[in-house]
Symmetry: C2
Subunit: 337 residues, 2 copies
């Protein structure tokens, strides 16, 4: 492909870590963050991948993200604990929370962690998937800066507020991960950059009418998935993340892309359950039967099932990344910014 | 209104209990079930209200629902317990589970109950609302007999599988409750009965094409809300209910309306969290701020907020119910069936 470059996963990791470490990020935090961005890139989620490095590093150099933050756990109940991400990147806070959730869930059957003073948490499904690989069923809820209006209104209040879920299943976990908006805001940004219209149903203009003009959509609001129901789900996610973690609402959070303003102080809540305990030992058989029904049906596909092939390909062949982005990341890593 | 009759809530309760008790249902189970059906009727959810009494009582007389079932708790972990609804009505099992969830959540910060050998659980949001009135944040997931196809397929696999959520909020809990289908199957049944077409987007014909023919839709599948995302949410609910409770899948469950076949053995899972603990004491303030944003916005309305006015009206004026239905219920109560 013209304008792109192929590089191994190891090389991609080295470049990402170097850019972060050259931008006032500790080695541990750089490793955690680079790992998450590269897994997003592998899974075809470029919007949560290496493209974040220029804005991440600009924010850490500006002190909007604290690159040397050390996340901390405060236990509030046997099954519930808070994680202070300390205005650092979100991934080190998740790396701290997940093993603690596994340990508590194995004992209690269910546990929950609330992450606050947090930042962009990447592909929500990846955090759930790690818990499912430990045999747990898991949810992650996180909020984001305002982009969507409450149903019937015109003013943005809620973010793209994803719902993510994973459950253990024979070969690999079932992973469900969706924004509660019709599309991620990044897709509208991309359409504006190349001067193309957006499909109907993606967004509303500032006056609340549907629009296919990407520039107008960016001044307006992103449409919820499924109309009023999607807007209600986004509100549920806002309560489960911002309110339950005691963090900033989507109306209060600063941008995750630029260096302006205070740290965004987003909230994320993780919930995990022990399915074999709750089901009286029936879970494995039940989900295998459900998966077999999907496998046997013409046209049906379990959500998230394409990621495994993508990961095999990336392990063998590496990643194909835009040369302009790689040059930018290399320059940041050499201290050139 | 012609063909309808107004009766007090007390009188409606008496009639519902009498019909159930005359149909081989214990007094305790009749009281629990009648209370749930009447609250649905009050909230304008007629499909989960008194209209269920003829089919409920036919099922208990036939022994498909065990009217004298006594639900039982088995604790599997400190934060997790199973509730055997024993093929009785679902409401007595919920009445048993909810106080136990409150007690465990207050201690542990989070708890979960899995109900199996269960039946139609009515308005999902009502169960969550009761937990929110105790100061907890709650989810209920339940499955239903197959009505929706996996995205891309034509064969029904998943039910209307609702997601319900509630959280404590100043005057009354925030309640979010939605089927993951575009509409409840009952609305398509109603359209067929009066011989009217259904709106586009509600359902697919057996060949997988969209249809506005209600009869064809009933042979086909109900559309998920929001396309592929809604179908993924319905799958998530199936895993969270049938699989996690060790109950029947939507493909296995018998009808909730007729006396044919084995008991449906549906599954329901309830999750509750202590929001003040998890948020470090910030929850009440955060959700009040979020609610104030909705209150101040033109056109925005918090989901579920209309129920309070409906309940005040019903307490003052009683219920308006179809005379034909009331006559049927009275006849069942007199042993006439």
């Amino acid at each position: 492909m013209s304008g792109t470059e192929r590089l191994s996963l190891a090389e991609a990791g080295r470049l990402a870590r170097a850019a972060l470490e050259a931008s006032d990020v500790s080695a541990d935090n750089a490793a955690s963050t680079a790992r998450a961005l590269i897994l997003a890139e592998i899974d075809g989620q470029g919007g949560h991948g290496l493209s974040r490095i220029p804005s991440y590093t600009a924010q850490s150099r500006a002190g909007k993200v604290k690159g040397h933050a050390v996340p901390e756990i405060t236990s509030v109940r046997p099954g519930a604990f808070r994680v202070d991400a300390a205005h650092g990147f979100a991934f080190p806070a998740f790396d701290l929370a997940l093993p603690e959730l596994v340990a508590r869930t194995r004992i209690l059957g269910v546990a929950s962690a609330a992450v606050h003073r947090s930042h962009h948490f990447g592909v929500a499904g990846h955090h759930c998937e790690r818990l499912a690989e430990e045999g747990l069923v898991a949810f992650v809820y996180g909020n984001a800066p305002k982009a969507m209006a409450p149903w019937g209104a015109k003013t943005p209040v809620l973010g793209t507020n994803p719902i993510a879920f994973a459950a253990p299943m024979h070969e690999a976990p079932l992973v469900i991960d969706m924004a509660t908006t019709t599309v991620a805001r990044g897709k509208i940004l991309a359409a504006r950059e190349i001067g193309e219209p957006i499909p109907e149903g993606w967004a509303f203009a500032p006056d609340g009418t549907p629009t296919t003009d990407a520039a107008l959509a960016l001044q307006g609001t992103v449409a919820p998935m499924g109309g009023a129901k999607g807007a209600a789900l986004a509100l549920m996610v806002e309560v489960m993340s911002a309110c339950l973690a005691g963090a900033a609402l989507g109306t209060e959070a600063s941008s995750l892309f630029d260096t302006e303003g205070e740290p965004p102080n987003l909230g994320q809540v993780i919930l995990s359950l022990d399915p074999e305990a709750l089901s009286g030992g029936a879970f494995e058989d039940r989900i295998a039967k459900l998966a077999a029904i999907y496998d046997d049906l013409d046209g049906a596909r379990l959500p998230g099932s394409r990621r495994l092939a993508a990961r095999e390909r990336a392990a063998a062949d590496g990643l194909q990344v835009k040369t302009a982005l790689l040059d930018q990341i290399r320059k940041i890593g050499e201290g050139g910014r």
